[in-house]
Amino acid sequence: MSTRCVIVGAGHGAAQLCASLAAAKWDGCITLIGEEPHLPYHRPALSKTQLDPEGDHALQLIRPEDFYHANRVEFLSGTIAERIDRTARCVEAGGRSIAYDKLVLCTGSIHRLPPIAGMNLPGVFTLRTAADAAGIRHAVAAASRVVVIGGGFIGLEVAASLRKRGCGVAVLELADRVLARVTSPAVSDFFETLHRGRGVDLRTGIGAREIRKSEGGMEVVVSDESTIACDAVVIGTGAAPNTSLAEEAGLHVDNGIRVDAWNVSSDPDIFALGDCCSQHHPLYDRVLRLESVQNALEQAKTVAGVLTGHPRPHDALPWFWSHQYDVKLQIAGVSHGYDAVVIRGIPEPGASFSAWYFRNGGLLAVDAVNDAAAYATGTKLLKLGARPDPDRLKDSSVSLKEILQQAKETEHA
């Protein structure tokens, strides 16, 4: 009998796993269980084109419906996997018990909700799914006033998209700068200036205490007891791995379902990939849990490799992007834990620049703002494991080509 692979969660990782198995002409059968009513679609669009007044609001499927039919993927839409029975090797979902030989958990992440009173009021939104984006679109008109709680990537992208719609937007960030967890002060500063320049009332070092109804709509009470009147609130305070199913099944969970280099969990028949898992990364020599499309796709390819008998450990260089207004940020690598950073170019609206992160002299990551050449060079240097001279990087009279050339020569020396 052919191998039965059950996939829980129909997002980016799941779609790639189906695609990679199909490309390898894997002869097992696949059941895909998804809580959302849709086939896997491009999630990053939710905070970007899905909220943009000029954007196309039709969901963009990662693979067309025909692909799943042609490859005999049984798709259970709008179905929640409720329990894993590891002894009987089956998943309970939608009143059925679905047997597996191999189970793959790609349950993504869930919102980390801040302890604020009034989170359940109508008009308060989170943003993870197509339904959330549609809810926000319907709730806000051009003149609406929206408070975004949380100045991370999603919060800032929502702010940019809603400004384009003509909404009045306030962003509240508890830390002393936006994007504090993921970038350096210079880059945070750039994005703060960008948003303020576009008319966003951006406040840092300030938390929301309470959301409540008011006469004209609603209001957010902030930590200094002042209030901000608004018509809607979007919560963008970060995500946590969605591990409840795995935890209940007794799998090893530590900031995500812990997996090995082949994305195998503590149960050899259960894999986990994407936002919901944490894994030791060989390039950074520490355990990472990444929330990015690239990470989910690469890990899905690793799982497909194991299932089809061509195992290849996951060691890909992480990358990420964000779009706000006409600014495109591309990140290569992971800057967390850096001990030095240099800025190349001038971080001002309208300009292009890049931030280069180091630890003990080794390059960790590059943030490139409207600067594809810096992104490309950074990626190449990271793949070489290079230790470029920060002073030369800072000096825009030294070309990136020269820096790359030197790194290659050092490597061959």
Partner: protein, 103 residues
């Protein structure tokens, strides 16, 4: 709406009639092998790399700055390389032929 011919890395010719959107999205919707469109068409992943047939390079035009940066990271880059997601399909491109590079 234009008709586009994709020559896949395996050498198969796939003709997409009434192609809409971009060279990338039309390929993904029609399951053209070698075009994945991982980033959804925002010039971030380079999984939509094609070589534009020489007869069409003028009409399709050259790669933009951001696109060139990404292409720098790819194998098999030629003068006529483009990222499919950055080529919007218009009636003028009816008959276009591209070779899919694949990875």
């Amino acid at each position: 709406m234009p008709k586009v011919t994709y020559i896949t890395p395996e050498g198969e010719r796939v003709v997409v009639e009434q192609a809409e959107g971009t060279l990338m999205s039309a390929a993904v919707e029609n399951q053209v092998s070698g075009i994945d469109g991982d980033c959804g068409g925002v010039c971030s992943c380079a999984t939509c790399h094609v070589h534009v047939d020489e007869a069409w390079t003028d009409k399709v035009g050259p790669a933009g700055e951001g696109e060139k940066g990404l292409l720098e990271l790819e194998d098999g880059v030629e003068e006529n390389s483009r990222l499919g997601c950055q080529v919007k399909l218009t009636p003028e491109l009816d008959g276009l032929v591209v070779r899919v590079v694949g990875r």
